[in-house]
Symmetry: C2
């Protein structure tokens, strides 16, 4: 069992090529006994973005704070808090903070991809 405020969970920079001004908190993972899927929180500064990339695993996303653009397979979609986004595997996608404040979103992946 684990119960913790997200703010108290370690935050580390995302150094992947194509990522700009992002940090990640791994909220729930195999280290907690979660063998099927992992919950991560991404924090993106204004003007920052995740890498534009594709991979076999899916994403399940929930926007907690901030606004931005979700790019997927050549199209752009505006998002704001409480938007739910499912990104199928092998979709070319990224998330951009187009606002002037912090963007935070949950992004869950299969444990094999965490």
């Amino acid at each position: 069992m684990k119960i913790e405020k997200s703010i108290n969970i370690k935050k580390t920079p995302v150094l992947m090529e194509g990522a700009k001004d992002i940090e990640i908190r791994v909220l729930i993972s195999k280290a907690d006994g979660a063998n099927n899927f992992a919950m991560r929180m991404f924090e993106v500064q204004p003007g920052g973005h995740t890498p534009l990339h594709a991979h076999p695993h899916e994403h399940e996303v929930f926007i907690v704070e901030g606004i931005g653009t979700f790019h997927c397979e050549g199209k752009d979609y505006h998002f704001e808090p409480e938007h739910v986004i499912f990104v199928p595997g092998n979709s070319m996608h990224n998330f951009q903070n187009t606002g002037d404040s912090l963007l935070r979103f949950l992004c869950l992946v299969p444990a094999s991809a965490a």
Copy 2:
């Protein structure tokens, strides 16, 4: 691909024995192509609670709004927005809204349990 505000996703009562004043929105599931795990939003009225029960699958929970008590294996834990909770499989647990406003939380489960 799916992008939708949570408020626009259908809400249905949870009629399971032991549940009180709860509704569920299935945000992402197999119907959306999510074959590994499902994201659901639970909405619990003041005084309401989920069933006190145990099952083989785990929960990954994120508190969106409201306060309450998480009961797990005989102990009680207070929670508020931004609390992250991992409930291992086979733990006797429930979630109670102890506040005077709506409690909303995300609860993710393996697709086999959705």
